[in-house]
């Protein structure tokens, strides 16, 4: 990423090594996020099946959607955290930068629309709870 001066290559090497370990931790975190999304999906589906008898179909389906949205949002948030770590070690080129920008835009859009669907408001609008003073 930066030009190395032979005199300080030794300590540079350790610093770069630490950064590489941290990047690996970032990858582990993204895997964890994927696992959470899958687990959240399984949980939502399981609860959907269990509720099938007691609720009307529409009510049940809406609950299912909200629970799926929760799992996705949580996963996305963790993936963004992992991506931020990934941005440190990436060699800055315009291509990688555009890629990163696109990921951020897509995740933000998904997160906002999921909030809109689950809570019926945009993230910058006050929630009903807050307006009630709860």
């Amino acid at each position: 990423m930066l030009e190395l001066n032979p005199a300080s290559v030794g300590e540079k090497q350790t610093v770069i090594e630490i950064l590489e370990y941290l990047e690996k931790a970032g990858v582990v975190i993204s895997l964890f996020a994927v696992a959470l999304i899958v687990a959240g999906f399984a949980r939502a589906a399981w609860r959907y099946a269990r509720r099938f008898a007691d609720k009307t179909r529409k009510e049940n389906f809406n609950l299912f959607k909200v629970e799926l949205g929760d799992a996705l949002l949580l996963g996305l948030e963790i993936l963004v955290l992992a991506d931020v770590i990934g941005t440190i070690t990436v060699t800055p080129t315009f291509e990688s930068l555009m890629y990163l920008a696109a990921i951020v835009v897509v995740r933000t859009a998904v997160s906002w629309t999921l909030t809109l669907e689950a809570e019926g408001r945009w993230p910058w609008q006050a929630s009903a709870e807050e307006q009630d003073g709860a």
């Binding site: 963004v80 006050a126 807050e130 003073g133």
Partner: protein, 125 residues
């Protein structure tokens, strides 16, 4: 600029980057740990709310440190429009990510005043 200054600044930048990444990872681990404990004590929904908030806070802190590193990098970057453009792009992305994260955990943009009616729910956390 003398060589040793550039070298020192490079090292400083990398230390800041390590700091930022460690903060992110540490914040993630602590938040997850607390989440797992909260699920049993306080139920799924409350735990989820707290978890998302603390994750957002770690992202914010990490980003702020990383933006600091990027700003220092502008001093020693090889003065070309390409290098400058890349740094500017990185700063813009990190700043916007910081704003949207703040929006998600606070329910308002950073430049908006705190809503008076939102105050009671703020004191909960």
């Amino acid at each position: 600029m003398p060589e040793f200054v550039t070298q020192g600044l490079e090292l400083l930048i990398q230390l800041l980057e390590i700091c930022g990444a460690s903060l992110l990872i540490l914040g993630f681990v602590v938040a997850t740990w607390k989440w797992v404990h909260r699920i049993r004590r306080e139920g799924h929904r409350t735990a989820l709310g707290y978890y998302r908030q603390s994750l957002g806070r770690s992202v914010l802190i990490g980003l702020e440190v990383l933006v600091a590193a990027t700003i220092i990098k502008t001093i020693i970057v090889e003065p070309s429009f390409e290098g400058l453009g890349l740094l500017a792009g990185m700063i813009v992305i990190r700043t916007i990510l910081g704003w949207t994260t703040a929006l998600e955990i606070n329910g308002r943009w950073p430049w908006q005043k705190r809503r008076p009616e939102a105050a009671p729910s703020q004191t909960k956390s």
